[in-house]
């Protein structure tokens, strides 16, 4: 009987997690993702009671969180819904919008800090060319990291999430872990 158990983006049955000094990198395997796009002239919906954020911002709700990805476009995150029919879940909450399932198109790596914001700021300075305010808590954006297109979300002062192409998950992990390891040796 072949083994049909799903693999995580980094190729193992269990998600990877590694600590580098004050920083811990964790692969998140069960994040449901849907992109929401407004039709021309349509009003923004409020899926699961969440007010969709403006340019450069990220908003967290009880069921879902949303990142502004472009004019009239958001990426909705549904934690723990990685195996669900996410478009089916969101469709009644966003009538008239164009919904596209994005789960498993992305690999999500959460970075947490046990020493406050400073180690995350150091990581930001080394990895992306963004002004400090662009990644203040509650903000997020799409940018380039090591020539890869990524979404970076600052969920809290001590929490940062990086979403990259799932097919390049290993390269993304390499870029993040190498930088985190160098920061650790510099401490």
């Amino acid at each position: 009987m072949p083994d049909l158990s799903p693999l995580c983006a980094l190729g193992a049955f269990d998600s990877r997690s590694e600590r580098f000094g004050a920083l811990r990198l964790t692969e998140v395997p069960d994040l449901g993702l849907v992109s929401i796009a407004l039709r021309k002239g349509a009003e923004a919906p409020a899926p699961f009671g969440l007010a969709l954020p403006g340019p450069g911002a990220w908003a967290e709700g009880a069921t879902a969180s949303a990142l502004w990805t472009g004019p009239g476009q958001w990426l909705l995150e549904l934690p723990g819904q990685g195996a669900a029919d996410v478009v089916g879940l969101v469709a009644p909450e966003a009538p008239g919008c164009s919904l596209t399932e994005q789960t498993d198109g992305w690999a999500c790596i959460e970075i947490t800090s046990t020493a406050g914001a400073a180690p995350l700021e150091a990581l930001r300075e080394r990895l992306v060319n963004l002004a400090p305010g662009t990644l203040a808590p509650g903000h997020g954006t799409r940018t380039i990291l090591h020539h890869m297109s990524v979404l970076v979300i600052r969920r809290a002062p001590d929490r940062l999430a990086v979403l990259g192409m799932r097919s390049a998950a290993d390269s993304l992990w390499h870029a993040l872990s190498e930088t985190a390891a160098r920061l650790e040796t510099q401490e």
Partner: protein, 90 residues
């Protein structure tokens, strides 16, 4: 070089791809083949202010009209191309 994105603030030019003269946004009437030929193939090459189209490919995927001084690379402003199109201006 930093591009002052109207929605997202200063962003690295690396995130953008460049198209060229913003007059590409307003093609001439299609019943004039010579004007169309000039529109597609001929460009001015001014030493000075130029309005040009930049695409925020590694960002929010919006088209910007950036005013740049080609002598100094000083950027004097950037607007969303969709806003300009909506206002009907060239």
């Amino acid at each position: 070089m930093l591009i002052p994105h109207p929605l997202l603030g200063l962003r690295d030019a690396q995130e953008f791809t460049y198209l060229g003269d913003a007059s590409l946004m307003s093609p001439p009437p299609s019943d004039d083949p010579e004007a169309l030929e000039r529109h597609v193939h001929l460009r001015d090459n001014p030493a000075g202010l130029l309005r040009e189209l930049w695409f925020h490919e590694q960002g929010d995927r919006s088209w910007l009209v950036v005013t740049r001084d080609t002598r100094t690379h000083e950027i004097l402003g950037a607007e969303l191309a969709t806003d300009i199109r909506r206002e009907g201006a060239r």
